[in-house]
Amino acid sequence: MSDLILLAISCIFVNNILLMQYLGNCPFLGVSKRMETATGMAMAVVFVLVMAGAITWITNAFILKPFGYEYLRTLAFILVIASLVQFVEMFLRKAVPALYAGLGIFLPLITTNCAVMGVCLINVKEEYSFIEALTSSLSYAIGFGLALILFAAIRERIILARVPRPLQDTSIGLVSAGMLSLAFFAFKGMV
């Protein structure tokens, strides 16, 4: 149990997926201008990443490994993730319209979010067991949400500040992401 807690802390803070592993940066800059979109995206990622982590682990252990098709991992994973996202979208639209209204527009974007694919590949590379893979997927997703929401709060403040013209928009966004990353950098060596 303590191993899992340690793994969770290391995935949320020490190896934060956005700020330390540089995965999923396109949505990080794209949807962080407003708090509502950032929260929506963060929830959608938590939702999909846990399922994708589980299902790609199963695909890898029971289909790719026994038949020696590991060289097709990239192709298999992206197909599994894409169809999972499609399926979740259809299911939510029918079954939970309220949740769909909140997450709907973010779901298709998740297919090309490299955080999802990246975590699935990390799970395989680190040879996690099924429980460990689930824990790491969930904690990476929480780390993603945490960083995204913090960053959205910073960007909402930046809009009110007077920024030099060439630095505006994405440029100042990247510099402030660097500062946020510096804060997370302090966790290095904790686990």
């Binding site: 592993q21 990239t74 197909l79 999802v116 990246g118 100042i172």
Partner: protein, 203 residues
Amino acid sequence: MAKTTVQEFTKGLWAEIPPFRLVLGLCPILAVTKTVENGVGMGIATTFVLVCSNVLISLLRSVIPKRVRIACFIVVIATFVTIVELVMQAFAYPLFLKLGIFIPLIVVNCIVLGRAEAFAAKHSPIPSLADGLGIGIGFTLSLTALAAVREIFGSGTFTVPVSGVALPVFGPEFQPFSFMIEAPGAFVCLGLMLCIMNMVGKK
């Protein structure tokens, strides 16, 4: 709208150079630019995937049904990424280890899918080839530039691609500014380069 093939090629080098003009594909840009060698390797791998997938998608554009086109694009792209992965494992294993999961992650690089959707699906193979090559070379140039800045200040060396020799730039007394090669430095450095691009070029 009758742009020549040459124009399709050159727009990727300045007017639409990723990631400065098109803010896409940031993850590999930030992650692999610790040394010049990694940056160039990643750029070449991405260019190969971009050119091949652009040409193939443009050839298949009348066959692919509109509603499932994204899924078809992803399968095409994933095929070429797998080819790159296997070739790199065979011929450039040390580089493959350094780039790690970022090689399979070319699949979800927004630039590749973005060009397939925005350009190759609407144009014939020759302009698509030019577009892919131009954007790919532009991407490689940006990666190399960012990697050069980060490596020169962060570790005080310049790794010559292919040979892998790290040349010292400042002499032995130089204290490396290691902020630059860590994660925060990547963000700040890219942000400042974007600022310089905005100052130089008109919006």
